[in-house]
């Protein structure tokens, strides 16, 4: 099953600036794995070293947060879309000590 994956702005640097890419799989986990194999730099952005999704990156199948639908085991159907939605805060990151935007 090939479905559309929406790539958020902060991650487009790792998908050759594409806004949408296609990825294959029977469930969300397989789709994400396929996506990361096609764009290896995404792995470090999406996953922590244990292979779990990083907690400030949410994944939605259509409009549902996969945490509530079975996480990576959430089954995927034709015409589904996957959205990767990281937390954003705009302005200056806390890491920049000057605090000025």
């Amino acid at each position: 099953m090939a479905i559309k994956v929406f790539i958020p702005t902060p991650l487009r640097a790792y998908t050759d600036r594409k806004v949408e890419v296609e990825a294959q799989g029977q469930d969300v986990g397989e789709v994400l794995e396929h996506l990361m194999q096609a764009h290896p730099q995404l792995r470090g952005q999406l996953m922590n070293p244990d292979g779990q999704l990083r907690s400030f990156v949410n994944v939605y199948l259509n409009d549902e947060d996969i945490r509530y639908t079975g996480s990576k085991k959430t089954p995927v159907k034709a015409n589904d879309t996957l959205s990767i939605v990281p937390s954003i805060a705009g302005g200056c990151p806390a890491a920049v000590a000057s605090g000025r935007c």
Partner: protein
Amino acid sequence: MATAVEPAVLNKEEILRYSRHLIIPEVGMEGQQKLKQARVLTIGAGGLGAPVGLYLAAAGVGTIGIVDFDVVDFSNLQRQVIHATADVGRSKLESARESITAINSNVKVVGYNTRLDSSNALEIFRGYDLVIDGTDNFPTRYLVNDACVLSKIPNVYASIYRFEGQASVLGLPDGPCYRCWYPEPPPPGLVPSCAEGGVLGVLPGIMGMIQATEAVKLIIGIGEPLKNRVLLVDALNMKFRELKLRKNPHCPVCGDHPTVTALIDYQEFCGLGRGGVAPAAEAASAEAASEERVEVTARELKQELDAGKDVFILDVREPFEFAIGRIANSVLIPLGELPRRMEELDRERTIVAHCKMGGRSAKAVEMLRAAGFPHVRNLTGGILAWSDQVDPSVPKY
């Protein structure tokens, strides 16, 4: 929505002023009176706070509180339309107060010229009907969220990055809070700032207007709020999408058995030290650690170059930034390309990496040290510091 007080009376001037509201059945005199009685607190008079302040003033919100300790910077003017050129260098709070009063002198502006933190947030929030989160960093986002939940005040949330925005109304009874949505913040330095990532100036205008609209709706009690859902705005393609948000019954702040019942240290929560600075390049990989210092100031670098030291200056910014201005003899390898291009660099040479402000180059230094480059340092403060301390002919941006 407002606390139980005598209905606010509108005088003749106000009736004329708000006539276009009064003749809409969904608003009417009753709705306008609710607006007059309402007390809305905006956190930040910046990109998001600007349209919120202006339009809530126009709408006749009776009391607008503003929390902002910053001064207007020239680069703010590209989007923070509540401030004008003549306000550069002035307190954002005072500039915002003046703009709001000029639109509508019926509005009472309450200013808080302070940084919002765990010691003052609950006190400041007390008595307000709504909080509008227009802040620009993760620790404050989590602070505002927790303070809203603890105070039982809705949090009209929006955030932006480049061309994308998110908006939702959090902290409603039976609704999710920010922690239900994102239980943990990203590690510091991972998400670039507006200064490093840029932002399309009109975007906070769109998102701030969505916040102002939600505020008006909540005050009057009409329409459907952005409850249990988040609006994702892609301004570049002008696409609006919605995702479902759920209240997490196990949420540590708003769940059935909360464990966070007081405000915490949010700098620490977001992985930052006391000074609000990430334990950045000092935490570089132990195998690649050398005895050399990891940071160098612009002045120190200039002294080394003048003394004839062989230093390879690595610029890790993007090509369009390189086009704005560069340090002489620097070589550009954008940070995103560094992993696959680092073999172009000479391991034996002394390398100083820089970006615009020092954040991206700190990551580059970590990356190179972990890959076994022993002589790599970070230019503290980036090319902006170089322009300040060494060569003012290099444009700041």
